[in-house]
């Protein structure tokens, strides 16, 4: 996979609004066919990064490449191959759903009418409805239809599900998996920024956590679950004094110990076993727990 040209390549990107630095020295690479997550708190620099990919902002330092092209120089070529769902969707208020889709389709080389029809039915959207009468959830659903029908190689999602109700969020994710990924199995790339991490847990192949514009960590999802673990041990008497410096976090409660570890699991497990615990269990951290653990430490 690594030999393929990355769909997205960001190198040492920096961007500041006046003196407020939004992104600092950010690098990441998204390989074709992957679903890549960009996780961070509000204001961590996710949207600024996305905007640099879409040439809505020009990088002040470093560079971004999409399909090996510079979005600032080859804007049409880049945008022709991607679709984007922003966090705040805006349509012309006087257009109907039907007119909006026709208008957006007019900019695209391809437009799958069958998919469009299926998704309109699935979301129970009325084509005659004016867009200014749509709820926030319906607006996002319309934006998603407009992003999937052109059948692009890359789908960029910026906080797509925040502010939506749980049912709409669930349908949104199912649609990305089904209607989008299934269109060209194994070859469709997704780049999604979100702070609602648990919803995307099963979809994400690889992710970068950013904080205050800087990369905290980049991980492959399977490796992440292997490395980040929660170890619980219970002893007959109060826990022995142990060298637990390799743990990210240690909690002691009576006869119990709870450790959060990053990669040091086997070594610490062995150390705990030597003191014959009554019970010893491990479980992997979820992506959301990894997010908390890496931002706190």
């Amino acid at each position: 996979m690594d030999s393929a040209t990355p769909v997205i390549q960001i190198e040492n990107l920096a961007y500041a609004y006046g003196r407020a630095e939004a992104v600092h020295d950010l690098s990441l690479k998204v390989q074709p066919g992957r679903c890549y997550g960009l996780f961070g708190r509000n204001g961590a620099g996710k949207t600024t990064t996305m905007k640099c990919l879409l040439n809505l902002l020009r990088p002040q330092r470093g560079q971004v490449r999409v399909f090996a092209l510079d979005p600032a120089r080859a804007e049409v070529a880049v945008k022709g191959r991607l679709a984007y769902v922003p966090d705040q969707v805006v349509f012309y208020p006087w257009m109907s759903v039907r007119e909006t889709l026709d208008y957006l389709a007019s900019f695209r080389e391809r437009w799958n009418r069958k998919t469009e029809q299926e998704l309109l039915e699935r979301f129970r959207l009325d084509p005659a409805q004016r867009t200014d009468a749509l709820s926030k959830g319906q607006g996002t659903q319309l934006a998603l239809i407009a992003a999937i029908c052109p059948e692009t190689d890359l789908l960029v999602l910026d906080e797509p599900t925040s502010g939506l109700d749980p049912i709409v969020r669930r349908e949104f994710i199912e649609t990305v998996i089904g209607a989008y990924q299934e269109g060209n199995p194994g070859n469709r790339t997704i780049f999604v920024s979100t702070h609602l991490i648990s919803e995307f847990e099963g979809l994400i192949d690889e992710f970068t956590i950013i904080d205050r514009g800087r990369v905290v960590v980049t991980l492959d999802s399977d490796q992440a679950r292997e490395r980040f673990q929660k170890i619980r041990a219970r002893f007959a008497q109060s826990p022995p004094e142990l060298d637990l410096k390799a743990a990210l976090r240690v909690r002691r409660e009576g006869r119990e110990l709870e450790l959060i570890v990053n990669g040091a699991g086997p070594e610490l497990l062995e150390r705990l076993r030597q003191h014959n615990p009554e019970a010893l269990t491990t479980e992997s951290l979820t992506m959301e727990e990894i997010f908390f653990a890496t931002l706190k430490s």
């Binding site: 679903c35 998996i177 194994g186 994400i204 992506m287």
Partner: protein, 137 residues
């Protein structure tokens, strides 16, 4: 069949699917010739990446557990182990070794461990029989 994904197990999701299908085949919950769910609806239902389900199915196919009939879907193989005997034994030995190591750490002594194996085999046997009875109804 109904799948259950556990993000806290530490096991890659595709391997969880592989294991559950193998377990379903062993218990008779999935019978030879029976169809597996198609990739898209299964991925949507579990809300996991489509490629993850595809990876699980191709792994099962290379193990000889399932067969793909283009355009019709995936089916549990009639003789659901095309692997040579040594290979099958080797795969099993790895799993058994892991369980033995685990038993040691959990301080489960040998007789109790062996007893537990008999017990589990009985449980799975009775499940399989129940499924077969059900089939005849």
């Amino acid at each position: 069949m109904i799948f259950q994904i556990n993000f806290k197990s530490g096991m890659p999701i595709y391997l969880q699917l592989v294991d559950q299908i193998k377990a379903a085949a062993a218990s008779g919950a999935l019978r030879p010739g029976e169809a597996l769910p198609s990739i898209r609806p299964l991925a949507e239902e579990l809300r996991v990446n489509r490629n993850t389900v595809a990876k699980a199915y191709s792994e099962l196919e290379s193990l000889g557990v399932i067969e793909t009939h283009p355009g019709r879907g995936c089916f549990l193989n009639e003789t659901h182990s095309a692997l040579r005997k040594e290979v099958r034994r080797k795969l099993l030995i790895e799993e058994i070794d892991q369980a033995i190591v685990q038993a040691h750490h959990l301080q489960v002594p040998r007789p109790e461990f062996l007893e537990l194996i008999h017990e589990r085999m009985d449980v799975l046997d009775s499940k399989r029989r129940a499924n077969e009875d059900h089939k005849e109804d």
